[in-house]
Amino acid sequence: MNIPFFPEQASTFAKDVDNIYFLLCALTFFFTALVLGLITFFAIRYRRGNNKVDRSNAPEEHLPLELTWSIIPLVLGLGVFVWSAKPFTYVYRPPADALEIFVIGKRWMWHIQHTNGIRENNELHIPVDKPIKLTMISQDVIHGFFVPAFRVKRDVLPGRYNTVWFQPTKIGRYHLYCTEYCGTNHSEMGGWVTVMAATDYQKWITTGGAPGPTSTMQETLVSQGASLYQTYACANCHQNQNGVHGPSLYGLYGKERKLTNGQTVLADDSYLRESIVQPESKIVAGYQNLMPAYPVGAEAGQLTEEQVLAMVAYIKTLGTSPAPAPAPTSSGQQAHPYDGVPHTPPINGLSGTGPNGAKPADRTGTQAVPAVKPGPAPANAGLMPADGSVPQMPTFKAIPDIKSVTKPTLPAPSGSKPPAAPDVKQTSSTVTPGTAP
């Protein structure tokens, strides 16, 4: 029977961890042996029946000794701290070229989404010798993603992305465990990480993940995200430059944003997610709290974490904007929406520097207006439209000046093609720049 003593070292991180571990084992063994040895030796030597030993001048204190056995453990401890802090920082700094994979933990399974569209459950296939970055979220309680062979672990939280990265160094199949107690089937929430040679991995990808019971091939994450972006008409407000509705999403990812409360935040995955799911939490300076929330949940019309991941993945690919459209002629970015200020056409993220490789099926050109169903205009835009259409209307607080709420038409910028919008029903007349409706 093969009794394992020690886990495999299968990542670049494993050796560092194991070396610190071995040092700590040595220190533990040494000090335990020292203490146990001394107390046994002294206890036997100085047992009460033994009168042949010299017990005179038994010391009751000795400052140099106290300082010695205080300072030496202190120095050793600090040394171990410093040695283990360095690999720790390494784990927090994924390389820029890491292969990004998304993980959703839910009771009681792991759902893995590769950006190329392959999905797998309880299995993770990755190439050897490449850095892998996992962006993870839970759909319910806290889980933990743990691969002992890689010495890598990170909690998977609901409501927030956590990332972890590693670089596998050895081909093989390794245990994947859920490591944060999550209820009844916690101990069954696990699977396997398969590390493959580069050629095998390529083959695996091109064959759509050798589809089996746990992996399926669907469209890429970014393309799903682009479809959702279109469906939810994000571009209405978030066009390619800071519009009057909402701040631009172009080149947003990784940059800092200043908020209305003076705080500055980094636009990372969690920020993007929060801005979709709970936009009222962080309002960018100069804008108002207009965006409806698109919460995650199980009810009809609510998003799933997979959909949020897809949108976040898409938004991350939005490059810098093309030549800026002409500035509005009226009072500027604090102006109230729909008050007649001319808008530049929503480019829907399909400029010349658009998402790499994303080819949403029904895009015709660079100026398509999104196919949206104009829903009714409820007083409270947070309610679900009765006809089941997608909620897209921002909340309008008291708007004394607007007599009717209309969907603005978008004047063609000079020199460009007029928008090709076969599906849009215009319910109001065209608004010319400079005039109120």
Binding site: P7, Y21, V35, W69, G144, R151, V296
Partner: protein, 567 residues
């Protein structure tokens, strides 16, 4: 400790203890027990109730170990297993370890050790016991009515939203028991400050009192935080307010910060009293003043203080800031140093001592060895990079069992044995006690050492089913636990047996120094006929103390087998 020496063979009043009136026999009225203010009676009531809860926790542990014999255990369902480990943790921590030494030995001994007639607030003391019983009853009800499966850590949003077990009942039980802790802490702090006998300065106190003082500081400062945290979980669970649930705008990590802010200092509540007991045992059974008295005294205060600043080391992998993790890690290394100071000081005390191998001394020596291992394995978890791998694995389980069982429980057992004659007026049978101490030590190591190995291999904790390759280690662990169980069962039997059949003890069967040994065994209700005046430091042992002790024991009719006697 004072100038009083008890002549061998001559008991105060020269009556046997069965005739002499003492705190146990002056009234057999139930009302005089349930409404007592006597710290000694309250201590006895705690001993009984804590032993009851320990047995329940031990039964749960037996269930766990049986389940883990098989990697795909069919004996229990997943849900039952989850309830078993939750029950084990909640009972053992909140209803055994936290109250154990403070509520039993602390209650009994502090007034005696400082020359007082009782604690500062006797009725508050009784209230502490009732709160403990109330909390324990509610938790017991939670278990009987179907159990609780959140683990003793109650992580959100599982406990506040998703679990459909008796969370509210169990949390209320723990909440109430927390007040028992707080009141005991207040009582001890005031007593130690204000009720020391004349001449008993701080630096003449026994180290047990220093340790209890430090423990009480933690109890008073930390317990309210976990009380409120658990209350918030209840509020979220019953009123659906978004506090920890992200779907309602809450933050699950907030719970962890608040929970561990108490629960880490709580582990020092569990071990500091044990340190105090060990100091007393080592001093008595080496006939030496503890080496480096002031260092040992101050190290207790240092541990209590530093212990409040390390809670984040339970959260290294939650995604919290890398920099805050580093701060928590470095302070965790710092807090290990005062513990190391104690261990080295105890070791140096044995040097040039006159070592008497009694059962309490064996427990004390076992403590030193096992606590050293347990404390050092804590450093593995404080080391950031290594903790990423070890967090939430069996390595953590092994580490905390080494300090809590190999440490705190061994200290509790050693203390119970040491002060048993004082509390009951009877001696326990020495041979069986030594046997039990040995079985406990061996069984403990067999149970928990394999868990270090299987933990580094990556086996997560709280796992009912596990990968087959870990089975050998788990089987070894279960085998060890049966020996450990025997080591606990045997004292349970002979200690009760000794109440009727044990040799009758004089006031000082150990020839120990300390004011508690100057009063009869068991003491009268009022402790001291005259409040003593203290003129010397603690642990001023002289050679003749051993001779007196031997004569005392001979007068008691205790035959000590295989022990060498001095000339």
């Amino acid at each position: 400790m004072s100038g009083i020496t008890i002549e061998p063979g001559l008991l105060p009043g020269d009556q046997t203890s069965t005739q002499r009136e003492n705190y146990l026999n002056w009234s057999t009225n139930v009302k005089d027990w349930l409404l007592t203010g006597d710290h000694k009676r309250i201590a006895v009531m705690y001993v009984i109730s804590i032993s009851f809860f320990f047995s329940l926790g031990a039964i749960a542990a037996a269930g766990i170990r049986i389940a883990l014999l098989n990697y795909h255990d069919q004996f229990f369902q997943n849900e039952t297993y989850n309830k078993l480990f939750s029950m084990h943790g909640i009972i053992m921590i909140f209803f055994f370890l936290v109250p154990s030494i403070p509520a039993t030995l602390g209650n009994f001994l502090i007034p005696l050790m400082i020359g007082a007639r009782d604690l500062a607030f006797p009725r508050l003391n009784l209230l502490s016991w009732y709160l403990y019983i109330a909390g324990g009853t509610l938790t017991l009800m939670a278990i009987i009515f179907g159990g609780i499966d959140t683990g003793w850590t109650f992580y959100t949003p599982y406990s506040s939203i998703y679990s459909n077990t008796n969370v509210v009942l169990a949390i209320t039980g723990v909440f109430i028991a927390g007040f028992s802790s707080i009141l005991t802490g207040i009582n001890f702090i005031v007593t130690i400050h204000k009720m020391r006998a004349p001449g008993l300065t701080w630096f003449r106190l026994p180290l047990f009192v220093w340790a209890m003082y430090a423990t009480s500081l933690i109890m008073v400062l930390g317990t309210p935080v976990v009380a409120i945290t658990l209350l918030l979980v209840l509020v979220e669970r019953t009123l659906n307010l978004g506090i920890f649930n992200p779907a309602n705008g809450g933050d699950p990590i907030l719970f962890q910060h608040m929970f561990w802010f108490y629960s880490h200092p709580a582990v020092y509540i569990m071990i500091l009293p044990g340190f105090g007991v060990i100091s007393e045992l080592i001093a008595c059974f080496t006939r030496r003043r503890i080496f480096g008295y002031s260092f040992v005294a101050f190290s207790s205060i240092a541990i209590a203080t530093l212990g409040f600043f390390v809670w984040g080391h339970h959260m290294f992998v939650t995604g919290q800031s890398m920099y805050s993790s580093m701060v928590f890690s470095i302070i965790s290394f710092l807090v290990a140093v005062p513990s190391a100071i104690k261990v080295f000081n105890w070791t140096a005390t044995i040097y040039k001592g006159r070592v008497w191998f009694t059962a309490p001394m064996l427990y004390a020596m076992g403590f030193i060895g096992l606590f050293t291992i347990g404390g050092l394995t804590g450093l593995f978890l404080a080391a950031l990079a290594v903790d990423i791998h070890l967090n939430q694995t069996y390595f953590v389980v092994a580490h905390f069992h080494y300090v809590m069982v190999g440490g705190a429980t061994l200290a509790y057992l050693g203390g119970i044995h040491f002060w048993w004659p004082k509390m009951t007026g009877r001696m326990y049978p020495e041979f069986w006690a030594k046997l039990a101490a040995g079985l406990t030590f061996i069984g403990f190591n067999l149970t928990f050492f394999p868990q270090f190995i299987v933990g580094y291999l990556g086996m997560p904790r709280r796992y009912h089913y596990y990968a087959p390759e870990y089975q050998t280690w788990q089987v070894l662990s279960t085998a060890g636990s049966s020996v450990l169980g025997l080591g606990y069962l045997i004292p349970g039997i002979y200690l009760i047996w000794s109440l009727k059949y044990g040799a009758i003890a004089g006031p000082n069967p150990w020839g120990a120094k300390g004011l508690e040994w100057t009063v009869p065994s068991p003491p009268p209700s009022h402790n001291f006929d005259e409040i003593p005046i203290v003129t010397e430091d603690a642990y001023m042992y002289h050679d003749e103390d051993q001779v007196l002790a031997d004569k005392d024991r001979a007068a008691m009719g205790i035959t000590t087998q295989g022990e060498e006697h001095d000339v």
